[in-house]
Symmetry: C2
Subunit: 367 residues, 2 copies
Amino acid sequence: MQTLHVDLGERSYPIYIGSGLLGRADLLTPHIVGRQVAIVTNETVAPLYLSQLEAALQGYELTSVVLPDGEAFKNWETLQLIFDGLLGARHDRRTTVVALGGGVIGDMAGFAAACYQRGVNFIQIPTTLLSQVDSSVGGKTGINHPLGKNMVGAFYQPQAVLIDTSTLNTLPARELSAGLAEVIKYGLICDEPFLAWLEGHMQALLDLDSQALTAAIARSCAAKARVVSADERESGIRATLNLGHTFGHAIETEQGYGVWLHGEAVAAGTVMALEMSHRLGWISASERDRAVRLFLAAGLPVVPPAEMSANDFLQHMAVDKKVLDGQLRLVLLRQLGEAVVTADFAPEILNATLNADYAAQLERLVN
Amino acid sequence: MQTLHVDLGERSYPIYIGSGLLGRADLLTPHIVGRQVAIVTNETVAPLYLSQLEAALQGYELTSVVLPDGEAFKNWETLQLIFDGLLGARHDRRTTVVALGGGVIGDMAGFAAACYQRGVNFIQIPTTLLSQVDSSVGGKTGINHPLGKNMVGAFYQPQAVLIDTSTLNTLPARELSAGLAEVIKYGLICDEPFLAWLEGHMQALLDLDSQALTAAIARSCAAKARVVSADERESGIRATLNLGHTFGHAIETEQGYGVWLHGEAVAAGTVMALEMSHRLGWISASERDRAVRLFLAAGLPVVPPAEMSANDFLQHMAVDKKVLDGQLRLVLLRQLGEAVVTADFAPEILNATLNADYAAQLERLVN
């Protein structure tokens, strides 16, 4: 087991990473203050892991809330089911909410913990690669609104994050790939040597080699913890974690939540950010192609939906949370391993990026 | 104009109190960071004061969201209308949300500000006595759940509170009385000399004498600011502000939100807390009666609904936010001017309090 620390003063917390941690009561109980625990999970994860977690928490007054599975349910109606479950079982403000599932469960359970009686304790147990390396760390919680993703939420830090790599054994291959999109992202924004490591270990990761997984997750979480510690509420550097996300969110929103997986949209969105960084003269064509190849090796899409026009993108991007005083800001790469947030680009470069022929580029790359 | 300060470190803010402040752009603009402002108000307040406020804010990109009026609408569906308005007009995270209205508007607009894009700036302009002396100060925001009042919300401090006493000229008499319930509360919990002042000035307050109003509001806000500064997140002394509220919330919930005004329920609930404090031997019958007379003089109910049984009360009180690890805690009076939060009472005393004949007591008092 590896233990990392997210350093946020009085809101600091540990991240435990290893195989078989789910049943480890000794890791959970130090982070539970009262006698009530509410586990929030979904219909897919519950049959696989809920009983194991419930066993580890026996002795507590336990309520389990099982939600429908998927990004399409990351909305108020589903959130309300958590409040119904907590109030129905008379959970008080010393309750601890435990999220058992992927990013959607973590975001919703975390937001519910932030709002229930104006805030109760919260533990993250992410069970997908994407949530293990990204959403479970850093305290971003929330739900979607029909007009925009994650538009309603809170910054709310957990008491602890417990990452059991053995939960990845039951993860569909498509979701494993989606998680790798965020892993690759850390290399691109702040850890160039990690890209070479990933090029060498991509097959091991896809084969669920537990040593490779633990190494990749720990390196990703460490990168995220560094950034979050420096900028908890995203007034600056934290926004670089959103490389590819502004383009990616537009894809997700346009296609309807859940049609593209978040990581898939981030992969295609990052390819667009790479393209734009190249058109700005910041990275070379071969650096761009190196990154695109890594996404391809991870089994990820590198071409945005053919039917999406430049205008479709612009419309969704106008409500991005990085828009300030009407000005669109994008995360781009100064070089591989160095991301910047900038509004300083000519509109023609953005337009050319939105209109680029990514399918043809892919064609060239694989032939 | 009087200016008070709520001292909360980097979340400190001023409270401006005086007549005719609503049009004072010079008080508002220092607290607005971006170029977008969203005013949240309701159908009753909008025709009276919205255009005046909009005029003071001309030059900003302005969106006004007008909600239906009443506690019955303090729910997610109505909150959603705020998010719809903000997203529809593409408000970004440098938006400032301004609450123009009573406690329901302040609580909902504040919660919307806390959640919109994970938190935007917020200014309170309370237009009822109740919200001016209570809910606009201290950062409690939220909405009701069918199973309990204010069960979903956030601690979220405004950038400033602007109290224009002239808005009370259009306040219905019943709501003025409801506000006086919270004013009297401050005397009872922490300012015994204020009770004598109120006994001497009750008629002036009911007559909307602006000097008396300003004095009473400033003294109430100062009391609240002291308590909130000492305990922002209600881990201790702040709970004393809820004198009468546990009994009162039970009345509100049982009767259906909005049937009893919040201040009316607090008055009757406080009479129950006085009764219980008396039965515990902490205050005398004449001290209890002195406080009851003050509520009567303010035009407030001092008898809980005849049809509510002890069991009705207990059922609602079991989900009170002051319940910890299953133990009900109540705010009671050690003496007039000194409140305590305690779980240390015999169940029989609570039962006797719930079964006391308040109607007969009132009969004795007025004859």
